[in-house]
């Protein structure tokens, strides 16, 4: 009998464990391979297939995709109406992101600093539920609210504010026949749907600001406004940037919201959807998807430099 070592029945599990113990990298490799193959082959592979398509072009007469390398599709991307689509979408994404940040901040700040116990749980659930609940149902709800004969119109009438509503709808660009057929409507729905994505990371960042920082700032003579500008906001910024990754990216790629609530002028997502579907112009559709990819790559790179990933 040995003193130092245990005489255990090794069994098959024990034997395999010994192999993995001697070569821990082998276990990591075996664990990682199946999911990596899935994401690497199915997902990344598909992305490359898509990228490849963007270097093909569509024969205008026959409507057949020519499988030859060309940059002409990208050239099309920068033609008048297509550039309009891109600018329109990016502007919308930026406005939605800023608005979400403004609405999200008080909620996140209250939840992080003042809510305790059951209140905190309630706040958290109140943000999580709309985040995870059905996307289509949420969009549909806004269709009901924004429709011409719908909730907003009724409230405007009841409050004798019809003149205001009509005034807003009469505005160029953002107005339209009713809120559910206007940019303003699209913008409302985007803000509503993506708002939880902004609240959670902002709250996570604020949770990490120790309360005594704020007391220290006040102690050093800063008024609440100065404390906010010089202490709270800079520390919350990585969280806001992390949230903006979602609000920006999701707005850039969405094609359902502007289709249900919006007017006939297209956003990137709709353009992609129509091009690959009815128009059958897969190369141009692929080139269009490269736009959000490049924008998001730049955005992620910037966010990483600001430390936003630590908050995710």
């Amino acid at each position: 009998m040995t003193v130092a070592l245990q005489e255990t029945r090794r069994g098959i599990g024990g034997t395999i464990s010994d192999v993995f113990f001697a070569r821990p990298q082998l276990l990591t490799f075996l664990l990682l391979t199946p999911p990596l193959l899935w994401i690497g082959v199915v997902y990344i592979g598909s992305l490359f297939a898509l990228l490849l398509q963007s270097f093909y072009s569509l024969d205008d007469f026959s409507g057949v995709v020519i499988h030859e390398f060309t940059l002409s599709t990208y050239q099309q991307l920068f033609e008048g109406s297509n550039v309009q689509i891109i600018l329109r979408t990016v502007t919308m994404a930026a406005l939605v992101t800023i608005t979400s940040a403004v609405i999200a901040f008080p909620i996140a700040y209250y939840a992080a600093r003042y809510a305790r116990g059951w209140k905190k749980a309630l706040f958290y659930l109140a943000v999580m539920m709309p985040l995870w609940s059905s996307y289509l149902v949420k969009v549909y709800a806004w269709k009901l609210i924004l429709a011409k004969e719908g909730v907003i119109t009724w409230f405007a009438g009841a409050l004798h504010l019809n003149w205001l509503l009509n005034g807003i709808l009469g505005l160029p660009v953002i107005g339209g026949p009713s809120l559910s057929f206007s940019y303003l409507g699209t913008y409302f729905v985007f803000v509503y749907i993506w708002l939880p994505y902004m609240i959670l990371p902002t709250q996570a960042a604020l949770e990490r600001v120790p309360a005594n920082f704020i007391e220290a700032s006040a102690d050093l003579g800063a008024d609440p406004g100065q404390t906010f500008r010089t202490v709270i906001f800079p520390l919350a910024l990585p969280g806001i940037v992390a949230g903006s990754i979602f609000t920006f990216s999701l707005t850039l790629g969405d094609y359902i919201i502007p289709q249900i609530v919006g007017n006939s002028r297209l956003m990137i997502g709709q353009a992609v959807y129509t091009l690959q579907g009815t128009a059958g112009n897969i190369p141009l559709a692929a080139a269009f998807t490269v736009v959000p990819m490049v924008i998001m790559a730049l955005y992620l790179w910037m966010a990483k430099r600001m430390g936003a990933f630590d908050v995710l």
């Binding site: 990682l32 999911p35 994401i39 003042y114 659930l125 995870w132 609940s133 709800a141």
Partner: protein, 272 residues
């Protein structure tokens, strides 16, 4: 502000926080309300009358609802099962050790949700085109599993990180080999996180429409059915009845997932 100023918040802050939360929740109320309206052609507000007949209509006279419902349940179940296996493996591997390229691989595993869904959708579609794979339940499921893996991975990796390495070492120190340690220590620790991840993945898959549109071909899932009803409505209140149903079906797993992970930090759901 005094040191016990923690418990009292400025009025302005309380008002804007409450208003923000109301903004998040009020719209859903109208979904419920319109499921009971007597007006089926328009979204007239307030509803001219209230009725429960649409629940009966949806149940009895709209056979077009059922096949999409079954398909959605089937896809969600399979995608969730696959995601549980692959997501857990990935989380286990990436939380195990530092190795070359780990950061890059971690980034890979969040890419399917960091990039807009439309990119995932059209990318998968063009890959299916190139490889001549016909659209079927399996192509839908393939797309869903891809983002469901990410959801399970996110939940599991957060728990794996919190699972103190000491517990695993303590178990091995007390004579348990790798498999015994997994069974008696690791699995009980990550079990609830996996369950929660699985539930969120199910809810997400059941509700998914953006990727599905591209990978479904002629197949109709419940969200696709709803989308077509939104664009070309037949009986609007019936759509509301289904919306109420979908809302509840996705809400229950979300609440369950919250219940399962509430003891820890709320890391799981930060990103969808």
């Amino acid at each position: 502000m005094s040191s016990n100023g923690k418990s009292t918040s400025p009025l302005g802050l309380r008002i804007s926080a409450t208003a923000g939360l109301l903004f998040l929740h009020l719209p859903l109320f109208f979904i419920f309300l319109y499921a009971f309206t007597t007006e089926e052609k328009s979204f007239e507000f307030p509803p001219p009358g209230l009725t429960t007949k649409w629940f009966g209509v949806a149940w009895n006279s709209r056979p077009d609802i059922w096949p999409p419902l079954y398909l959605s349940l089937e896809v969600a179940a399979i995608a969730t099962a696959l995601a549980l296996v692959f997501g857990t493996l990935a989380a286990a591997a990436l939380s195990r050790a530092k190795f070359f390229g780990r950061e890059t691989i971690s980034l890979l595993f969040v890419l399917p949700i960091a990039l807009p869904g439309i990119i995932t959708g059209i990318a998968l579609r063009s890959a299916f085109d190139i490889m001549n794979i016909p659209f079927s339940v399996w192509t839908i499921m393939l797309g869903h599993a891809t983002f469901c893996i990410v959801v399970v991975y996110n939940n599991a990796v957060a728990r794996f990180r919190r699972l103190s390495g000491n517990l695993v070492e303590a178990s091995m120190d007390l004579g348990a080999d790798g498999f015994q340690t997994f069974r008696h220590v690791i699995l009980p620790q990550i079990g609830t996180a996996l369950l929660a991840g699985g539930m969120l993945a199910f809810a997400l898959s059941f509700d998914e429409v953006i990727v599905t549109t591209f990978t479904a071909g002629q197949q109709t899932t419940l969200p696709i059915w709803m989308l077509s009803e939104l664009i070309r409505p037949r009986q609007r209140p019936v759509t509301n009845v289904v919306a109420v149903f979908v809302f509840i079906v996705t809400l229950l797993p979300i609440l369950a997932a919250y219940y399962l992970t509430r003891e820890g930090e709320h890391t799981g759901g930060t990103s969808k």
